[in-house]
């Protein structure tokens, strides 16, 4: 059995986020490390996107299932909070997949999150008509990681994966 890191990562590439199934957990930057011990035990270290992300338990379960299906019986999932997850870790391919799925990908780096009252992130591109004339409807959307925007041109409301 080939239990090298590369093989494990190729299996993790097949585990998707339950809320946004177009993204794999590698695209999201949730997987922080994989440790293969001599006795066939694998430790997979993951980090939550948000403290209260309800998808974490499902993700841990899906990882274990994927590993079991491929003959890895001794799998330990470890959660880490440090360093804290950021949207800066999202892969470029993840961002383009998000966009074609209809969710605007995070634009700025997390250090540039705007804390000024009533100041919204500008020029978020509408994933449908690609206009940048869009407006913020609410900084909290259908999941913890998204905010709600609307396109001023095609009028379509859409999710924006907000910077974190």
């Amino acid at each position: 059995m080939n239990n090298n890191k590369e093989h494990i990562y190729s299996l993790l590439e097949q585990v998707c986020d339950p809320e946004i199934p177009v993204l794999t957990i590698l695209d999201l930057g949730i997987v922080r490390d994989v440790i293969c011990a001599d006795d066939q035990e694998i430790e997979i270290i993951i980090t939550p996107t948000y403290s209260g992300c309800p998808a974490m338990d499902a993700i841990a379960f899906d990882i274990k299932l994927k590993m079991l299906e491929n003959g890895f019986n001794k799998v330990k999932i470890t959660y880490t909070l440090n360093p804290a997850w950021t949207t800066d870790w999202m892969t470029e391919s993840g961002k383009s997949k998000l966009k074609s799925y209809g969710i605007a990908p995070p634009q700025n780096v997390s250090s540039r999150i705007n804390k000024i009252m009533f100041n919204e992130e500008q020029n978020i591109e509408c994933p449908l008509c690609h206009s940048i004339h869009t407006k913020l409807l609410s900084e909290f959307g259908s999941t913890a990681c998204k905010s709600l925007y609307q396109c001023n041109d095609c009028k379509e409301p859409f999710d924006y994966f907000k910077c974190h």
Partner: protein
Amino acid sequence: MNKSSNQLIDYTLYLGDCALILGQRNAEWCAHGPILEQDIAITNITLDVIGQSRNFYQYAAQLINAVENKNVTEDSLAYLRTERDFKNLLLCELPNGDWAQTVLRQFFFSTFQQLLFEKLKDGPDEHLSAIAVKSIKEINYHIKWSGEWVIRLGDGTEESHNRMINAVNNLWMYTGEFFIAADYENSDLILLKNKWLEKVKDIFDEATLTVPENVFMQTGGKTGNHTEYLGFVLSEMQSLQRTYPGAEW
């Protein structure tokens, strides 16, 4: 158990209790928010703070089990302790009142939480520091959202302005407790008070609200002496585990 590990456990429970009880209160808005987007906003904030409380409880459970040889879990800490065991700030357990009171409570709390967590971030305990760093990113959004609401209502119509004044009058007496150190806290907590007042004053100025002066301050939450409201919050939150111990779904 030595004094310092006992203090760390109490402190971690205090941080978890504040987040959980405020989360439980905010969750009462679920499906009752003024409009759909704001219903989603307050429940998203709820999800964040309950997530934070889980992180604190998991750490507290680890500490307790190490020194006391017990088998507590994040769930037993949330669902099986009684009123006097909870150390949350009184502010967190108060009834939601109207929307003005709910957003003002969130603004007071999040502004305090941010200052406290900035200190925890650089503190000696690595675990608390990691939870703080993670939480601060969420808290920034909470402050922005609740601060905007305080301004929108304070500097809004006569009706919304009056509601905000009522909210200030109802809640102010519960903010003094933030800065009075319990025996499990560092006494330099008082240093955060002026920073907090400064931030509140900035928003109040924009909201055309006045910071109250010489108000009697209620205390007791941090040492388990609560308002009559906490018992009702717990009886609802814990009823399932009390009735069907160990129930899962």
